[in-house]
């Protein structure tokens, strides 16, 4: 077994990064101009990395499959971004953000990385404000904060319910500035379909021009994968339709280990499934748990009545409501971390207390918040004895200002008005903590190949806290990679650009073409979506919110069978040399099928419960996740041997600064 070298610098936790930066080799400006870097992805991680590297003088080529870099999935993030600024004077600090993140991740993240993330978090906010990102502000003109799950301080910066959009547009504007200056060449509507390896190093990619279907070869001294998460392996998720694992998977096939593939985040507040036609699930931002109260009826007969439509939420009297999060977790209440909140909802629904016809929904209620805000507003406006209608109207205004776009979205999708009746929500797949294994420098096990943002496994352990993915993506791109890549590239200044007629490029391109031809040759009877839906169902049922040995073993067999069926019965219409979304999907689903098997294998191997990974065999008497630190305090890093065959490598997790403990939010 090869030893994984995480390259964590020595020294005390709060000086590691400073010392690293002070001693990392640099590349001088004249040499930077000769070095080319490929960035796959233009979300927060990719856009920030591409623009920052271009500003430093590197020649950058950036790729995305959407029609514009501005449309990367980061655009959809709603709630906010964390930073340890302590602007609220409520006791926040770099250490506390570090601690909360390690604890929130259920002690399965690497200390050194998380501390660094926490250290640079403040600079991210500074950078974004300087770009003109319009964060929410208080009347005094200073930045506003709100709280998110798993923390007891207010450290989340936001721009209404459109934080990801505003952050991405900021990073995109920096990227476009570099495009305009000729420092970045942008390839939109291009999909990376393979990594090119020369002498054991990543030296380029094969990309398909999605409009013409042409395969292109691109050289880079280094390749950065910023290609996002793989939640769509479940078919239904809150991810954008195009989000996929292909870039990471091709890297995995070329030798990059995959870290903790089974760590998936199921988000507690999403709009429930409405029927078989459903193509994606919509998140209702976690920020809604700040003010909203979650409940189900306390009496089974009320639940029945809600399910068959004879009662409505407002018919259930206060005394007959079970605010189960407040009941079970008095210290954190509705703000427990996501994994805990999701499981609690599943537990109530499995017990028969679900509130919609499928029994798979709970209420998220804003009545109390509207009343509370209304009263505060009335006092502010010096209204004496306002009637309840006035209070309600004032309260609605406040809620509208904070969450208006989310409420509109809910109305649009469900046809119900959340200002008047509680929203119905249910957990849905949202984020993948797992991803390509990377060392402290964000390099994968393939030299010269890096992974940033959601595509890597690095900072969130077994569960990510809300508002921390945006932070991580931008930390990786703006403040980590510009330093760490120097360590590799400084040794590469003598390597001239390798011509793309090199046999390795030719071979990689041929392999990609072969796979495309194979797809068309099948001429089967079923659409790509048909297989994707079936894969999603297996994953959700057997590798979703709760997992057990029997189910996982079955899932592995079912996925293997599905893989064979897919490769003999899928039908791809049209041709390869044209704009062909079905062909794009086919490639992605082929990779998802292989990934699904690995996720189940990882979940089967990890015989403990931690964070988002809940093995039914391992729980406390109260139904909480039960970790086994003696046996599983490691990162699983999987090496692919061949399709359907992997070898497990372990990176031991050493906790020198935080005492590892049972997580409690009571």
């Amino acid at each position: 077994m090869t030893k994984l070298n995480s390259k964590i610098p020595s020294g005390s936790i709060d000086t590691k990064w400073t010392q690293y930066k002070a001693s990392v080799p640099l590349v001088n400006p004249a040499n930077k101009r000769k070095i080319e870097v490929i960035v796959v992805g233009t979300g927060l991680a990719g856009a920030s990395a591409a623009s920052s590297l271009a500003e430093l003088g590197y020649k950058v080529k950036a790729f995305c499959f959407q029609d514009s870099p501005r449309r990367a999935h980061s655009i959809a993030a709603q709630g906010g971004i964390n930073a340890a600024k302590n602007y609220q004077n409520d006791g926040d600090s770099v250490y506390r953000l570090f601690y909360d993140t390690i604890k929130g991740g259920d002690y399965r993240a690497r200390e050194a990385n998380v501390h660094r993330l926490s250290e640079v978090s403040g600079s991210i906010i500074d950078q974004c404000v300087a770009q003109g990102v319009p964060f929410a502000r208080e009347y005094g003109g200073l930045l506003s904060n709100r709280s998110f799950g798993g923390t007891q301080v207010q450290r989340t910066f936001y721009a209404a319910g459109q934080t990801g959009q505003q952050l991405l547009l900021g990073a995109y504007s920096s990227l476009q500035r570099q495009v305009g200056m000729g420092n970045v060449q942008m390839y939109s509507r291009h999909e990376m379909l393979d990594i090119v390896m020369i002498d054991g190093k990543a030296r380029g990619i094969i990309a398909r021009n999605l409009i013409t279907g042409e395969l292109e070869r691109h050289f880079g001294h280094a390749v950065l994968l910023c290609s996002g998460g793989y939640g769509n392996v479940f078919y239904l998720s809150t991810n954008a339709m195009g989000s996929n694992v292909t870039a990471a998977w091709k890297a995995h096939r070329k030798g990059a280990y995959f870290g903790n593939p089974c760590f998936t985040q199921i988000h507690p507040t999403c709009i429930p499934v409405s029927g078989d036609h459903q193509s994606k699930l919509t998140l209702m931002s976690e920020s809604l748990r700040n003010d909203g109260r979650i409940w189900v009826p306390a009496k089974p007969e009320d639940a029945k009545a809600l399910q068959n439509g004879t009662k409505k939420a407002n018919d259930i009297p206060e005394a007959d409501r079970d605010y189960y999060l407040e009941r079970r977790y008095p210290a954190f209440g509705n703000l427990v971390p996501r994994d805990v909140a999701s499981r609690a909802a599943k537990e109530r629904c499995d017990a028969g207390f679900g509130v919609n016809p499928t029994g798979q929904a709970v209420f998220l209620d804003y009545a109390a918040a509207i009343e509370r805000y209304g009263k505060i507003e009335a006092t502010k406006q010096n209204l004496s004895n306002p009637d309840s209608a006035t209070i309600k109207a004032l309260g609605k205004e406040v809620v509208k200002e904070k969450y208006g776009n989310l409420f509109d979205m809910y109305l649009q999708i469900t046809g119900e008005n959340p200002y008047e009746t509680p929203m119905k929500i249910y957990p849905a797949v949202h984020y993948t903590m797992g991803g390509l294994w990377v060392d402290y420098e964000l390099m994968t096990t393939v030299p010269g190949l890096y992974a940033l943002g959601e595509a890597n496994f690095s900072d969130h352990g077994a569960n990510r806290l809300g508002a921390s993915a945006l932070m991580q993506g931008l930390a990786d791109g703006y403040f980590v990679i510009p330093y760490t890549i120097g360590n590799y590239l400084s040794q590469d200044i003598r390597t001239a650009a390798i011509p793309t007629d090199h046999p390795a490029f030719v071979e990689a391109e041929n392999n990609v073409r072969e796979q495309i031809n194979k797809f068309f040759a099948i001429k089967g009877t079923k659409s790509v979506d048909y297989f994707h839906k079936r894969l999603g169902k297996i994953m959700w049922d057997k590798c979703g919110m709760a997992r057990n040995e029997k189910g996982l073993k079955e899932a592995i067999e079912e996925i293997r069978a599905l893989r064979i069926e897919f490769w003999s019965d899928v039908r791809i219409p049209g041709e390869s040399n044209e704009f062909n979304p079905e062909l794009e999907k086919a490639g992605r689903v082929a990779d998802f099928i292989e990934l699904g098997e690995l996720m189940c294998l990882d979940a089967l191997t990890r015989e403990e419960s931690c964070g988002g990974h809940f093995r039914e065999e391992h729980q406390t008497e109260e139904g909480e996740a039960l970790r086994h630190d003696d046996k599983f305090a490691f990162v699983s890093a999987w090496e692919m041997k061949e399709v359907g065959k992997w070898e497990l490598h372990k990176e031991e997790l050493v906790y020198e600064n935080i005492k590892i403990a049972q997580r409690s939010y009571k």
Binding site: A76, G132, H277
Partner: protein, 253 residues
């Protein structure tokens, strides 16, 4: 949850690529639930076409949450369809009734050439942003975020302008195919913030010049853009752009 199924007739623009001529094709669909989104209805139709061995309809979409700006259908003569402030992906079938005929076309504008069927090329928008839609600040140059207080009013107004999703419905709605609303949204956002001040003049001139160069038409103040904009970008932004442009030219830069 509704189990009623609608039967609809779809007249959809089919065009193999940018070089060939397009035409309308008619497709019946049935069993459409009112809980479906407009794009989910297209999924159903495409599934049907694939099973019949036909070429499915190409259309752009990604987030299906009304925020990425990728979806772009011209539905019954309106960009993004009949509802106010709603993108194509957020339009739900409960806005239609059984028996309806729905006509679907791509955005039409010289600066947005058709790629295939309903998908068009909007990269001209990216080039306009590259010409000036930014603050020139390199990573690492920033001061502490709270050392620059900004009146809430201005911050909110800048945010409202920054909400533009770059979908191009404004261009599709305009008889001149003008991109003024899109450009003015970015110009406004940065003109309202102190961070945008140093480059205020070059920005507006460069962006407007680029817009003209890309082949967008002139603005004749019909207001169709703001009416169809799914994000409520207001005409005030165009007025502000005009002021900014005038000022920049007067000051001779």
């Amino acid at each position: 949850m509704s189990t009623t199924g609608m039967n609809l007739t779809l007249k959809i623009w089919r065009q193999k690529n940018g070089n060939e001529r397009g035409r309308f094709e008619t497709y019946p669909v049935s069993g459409i639930s009112e809980d479906m989104s407009f794009l989910e209805m297209f999924d159903v139709l495409n599934e049907q076409l694939i099973t019949e061995g036909k070429d499915p309809i190409a259309f752009d979409h990604d987030c299906r949450e009304g925020i990425c700006g990728m979806c772009s259908m011209y539905i019954n003569g309106q960009p993004h369809g009949p509802n106010d402030r709603v993108t194509t992906c957020q339009l739900h079938m409960r806005s239609f009734k059984n028996g309806d005929t729905i006509v679907v076309e791509p955005w039409r504008a010289a600066a947005f050439p058709v790629i295939k069927d309903l998908a068009v090329d909007r990269s001209s928008f990216d080039r306009i942003i590259a010409a000036g839609g930014f603050v020139s600040v390199n990573t690492g140059n920033a001061q502490d975020a709270n050392s620059l207080p900004i009146a809430k009013e201005n911050a909110d107004e800048a945010f409202a302008a920054a909400a533009c999703i770059g979908c191009g419905a404004c261009v599709a709605a305009c008889k001149n195919s003008s991109a003024m609303l899109f450009v003015s949204a970015k110009v406004s956002q940065l003109a309202l913030l102190p961070q945008g001040e140093p480059e205020r003049r070059e920005r507006v001139i460069n962006m407007v010049n680029k817009m003209d160069e890309e082949g967008f038409g002139n603005c004749t103040n019909t207001g169709a853009c703001a009416e169809e904009c799914p994000k409520g970008i207001s005409l005030e932004n165009i007025a502000r752009l005009n002021r900014e442009f005038l000022l920049a030219n007067v000051s001779g830069k």
